[in-house]
Amino acid sequence: MVLAALVGLWELYRWVWTSAGWTWPFRVDDTSMPHVWRIAKAFAEPAQVNQPALITVLLHKTLFTAKEAAAGFGLGAVVGFALGVVLVHSRLLQRGFLPYIVGSQTIPILAIAPMVVVWVNPKLPGSLQGWGAVAVIAAYLTFFPVAINTLRGLQSADPRALELMRTYAASRWTVLWKLRVPSSLPYVFSALRLAATASVVGAIIGELPSGIQSGLGGAILNFNQYYSLEPQELWATNVVAAALGIVFFVIVVAAEKIVVRRAPENVA
């Protein structure tokens, strides 16, 4: 339904802009906006001679990028969650660390990525070589929303409930596991939803300076060079990348449905 509407909108926009000859905000022609059917057709055809169909190639690349993104997502989520847990227990650390955590996100990922590759790659065992560094870059984008929202979520515990736990003389750990963490879950999951798509973006961008050819990032870089000739191939890759992001998002939403038991109106 939504997909059909998007396709319709794309073609309508194309038709209106080309027939009216409008050039704002950009010139619409077969290069800037190829027909949807040309993009679709591009999937079925080989991008280069003596190669399998583009869709097969892209699927392999997608799996590769998905692996990077998933590892980065997992790493970022764990680090972010752990940071949140540590910070909630110490106002001092919160004051000391939070500015740096926020600051870390103002450095553009494109500036970080090459450095991460140079630092991380030599330290990785053979099996992680190359894509491991990309996962770290994806994690860099993932951990931030998770850390901030975990902290907020852990702090959102009802003060009266905290008081109740005091009457049980509950230890810090008990309070954390039985009260703070369950209270934080809606917050954590809303961060994870953001992080799911961010990790895919991170993985694709991370592939660029790593010179990795087996993922979607490599494919995008490659098709970019041929864009004026074969725009539909880059568009096809974009569609696949978007689909990957959506799949990640849907998985997180499904996990949330299972894990978070909450009054419908209280889900953050």
Binding site: D158, A161, T167, A169, A170, K178, P182, R261, A263, P264
Partner: protein, 273 residues
């Protein structure tokens, strides 16, 4: 104060509590002693420090001066030993837990095993008549049902001291009277000591061995009424002439401070009686 043969469960000596925020003297020079097995109600207009006094006993609020002893220990030690169970003005349930799991919470804290927990939770559900809702989540219950869960949770580990802050305030009159009777029978059976905050004069008189009347600004004890009605108390107790005399006595004590009351507090008193 003479040296009693039995040590007091709660001993409050010269307790004053001032909240820096707003410079409110919530409690001033409170002296109160609870013998084992007593059922003491605290009554007074809104803001006279009833909840604060209860929290001081539970070591949830530290007094500005004076001392609180619970079971011969400091209030802090007693809290750490899990000496009391508490029911707040609001239910304060964990919404991600089912009703049964909410009741089991203090039992988990005490390290009871699963089988023992389940058996006790079943008994408690039965007591508050929520067996059919064991696997519901709090947001699926009415306010009164939620409060019954909170009561079951506080009673579950059979604490020797029960602190209750208007536990029945949110309930309808029928349920309230039934739970009054239930509470009394639990109390008689368990021999526990209860501190019970209420706005209802008749509820205070019906339940208690003693009613402590408090007055506001600053929060003080205006007087104490011994309730000499015999136990077990029943539905008929509320119809005895002595019951009405005692209700009147408590009301007079509340009224004696009437000239210090604000108009809306007067109204509150009218409503309570």
């Amino acid at each position: 104060m003479s040296e009693a043969a039995v040590p007091a469960v709660v001993r409050i000596e010269k307790v004053t509590k001032t909240f820096a925020q707003g410079n409110v003297t919530a409690l001033q020079d409170i002296d109160l002693e609870l013998a084992p097995g007593e059922f003491v109600s605290l009554i007074g207009p809104s803001g006279c420090g009833k909840s604060t006094l209860l929290r001081v006993i539970g070591d949830l609020v530290e007094p500005t001066s004076g001392t609180v002893t619970v079971n011969g220990k400091s209030a802090r030690q007693a809290r750490n030993d899990g000496d009391y169970g508490i029911v707040f003005q609001d239910a304060v349930l964990f919404e991600w837990r089912t009703v049964a799991k909410n009741i089991a919470l203090p039992l988990e804290m005490l390290g009871w095993d699963r089988a023992r927990r389940r058996q006790r939770v079943e008994e408690m559900l039965d007591l508050v008549e929520l067996s059919a809702f064991a696997n519901h989540h709090p947001w699926q219950l009415s306010g009164g049902m939620q409060q019954r869960v909170a009561i079951a949770r506080a009673l579950a580990f059979e604490p020797a001291l029960l602190l209750m802050d208007e536990p029945f305030g949110a309930l309808d009159e029928m349920t309230r009277e039934r739970l009054n009777l239930e509470l009394l029978s639990i109390w008689e059976k368990a021999g526990s000591t209860v501190v019970f905050v209420t706005h209802s004069i008749s509820e205070a008189v019906f339940l208690s061995t003693r009613v402590v009347v408090m007055s506001p600004r600053p929060g003080r004890i205006a007087g104490v009424v011994e309730i000499d009605l015999p136990y077990p108390r029943t539905v008929e107790t509320r119809e005895e002439p002595r019951f009405f005399e005692l209700v009147t006595e408590v009301r007079e004590l509340l009224r004696k401070r009437g000239e210090h009351l604000l108009p809306e507090e007067e109204q509150l008193l009218e409503d309570a009686s």
